[in-house]
Symmetry: C2
Subunit: 123 residues, 2 copies
DNA sequence: CTGTATCCGACACGATACTG
DNA sequence: CAGTATCGTGTCGGATACAG
């Protein structure tokens, strides 16, 4: 017997409804990976994430800081130095991220194949 | 000893770089959950996903179909009937989705707390 | 160096009307 | 019923210039 659908996929009582917004951020995962084995400076992060503008990287870092995923430490020096570090809470995301990574590794070829087949059928 | 950062987080050779786009879709996960225990019609899906317009739901379904996550079956009847079903490939996403769900369940309270603390500090 | 301010274009999305 | 077409709006994000 098939269950009826839930009435409301956006029910605030269901924490999963927040998943797309909470851990679905486009660049947050990359930042966390970059911080995995030690604090990094803003300019250090800009290198591997060169496709993201300074503005968006800043916004991403602020959001991660606000949510307790990373910490921001500004040193009173000239020139200024700021270091971002992942928090314990931030590290708790790694298992879920690893699950996503493992999925991509295993099934991306199948997805490519499905896309090719779909393009074929559409043509 | 700390590893140097990767040079390019967007390296196409790394399947993980596709994760934000492949499984980071805002509504795809909800659709798959809705299809978990049987095929559903378009209008059935609209109910729990009432915040998503027909246009966007259609786009989401098309993308999922293109990627081989769901199948679309149109019956030649009047009035028309179309059924969407999850594929075996689509089901392979569930473990990763479950990992995200479990994370949200466990750590969302900590995030809320971090947000409150951040708001406090900013005030 | 680590950002912020401003402008602007592209695109995502909803609302509405319409079709087979 | 299951969409598509069109339009208007809002947000995302890059580029550039500038500040502390």
């Amino acid at each position: 017997m098939r269950e009826p659908l839930p009435r409301d996929m956006f029910d605030p009582a269901c924490p999963s409804s927040m998943v797309p917004f909470q851990i679905g951020d486009k660049w947050a995962g990359m930042v966390l990976v970059c911080l995995a084995d030690g604090p990094r400076r803003f300019s250090e992060l800009r290198v591997p994430m060169y496709r993201v503008s300074a503005k968006v990287l800043t916004e991403t870092l602020r959001a991660l800081e606000r949510d307790g995923m990373i910490s921001r430490t500004a040193y009173d020096e000239i020139p200024p130095r700021v270091e971002y570090a992942i928090t314990d809470l931030g590290r708790t995301l790694f298992p879920a991220m690893e699950a996503c990574r493992a999925w991509a590794l295993e099934y991306l070829p199948a997805v490519e194949q499905a896309r090719a087949s779909y393009a074929q059928r559409s043509a």
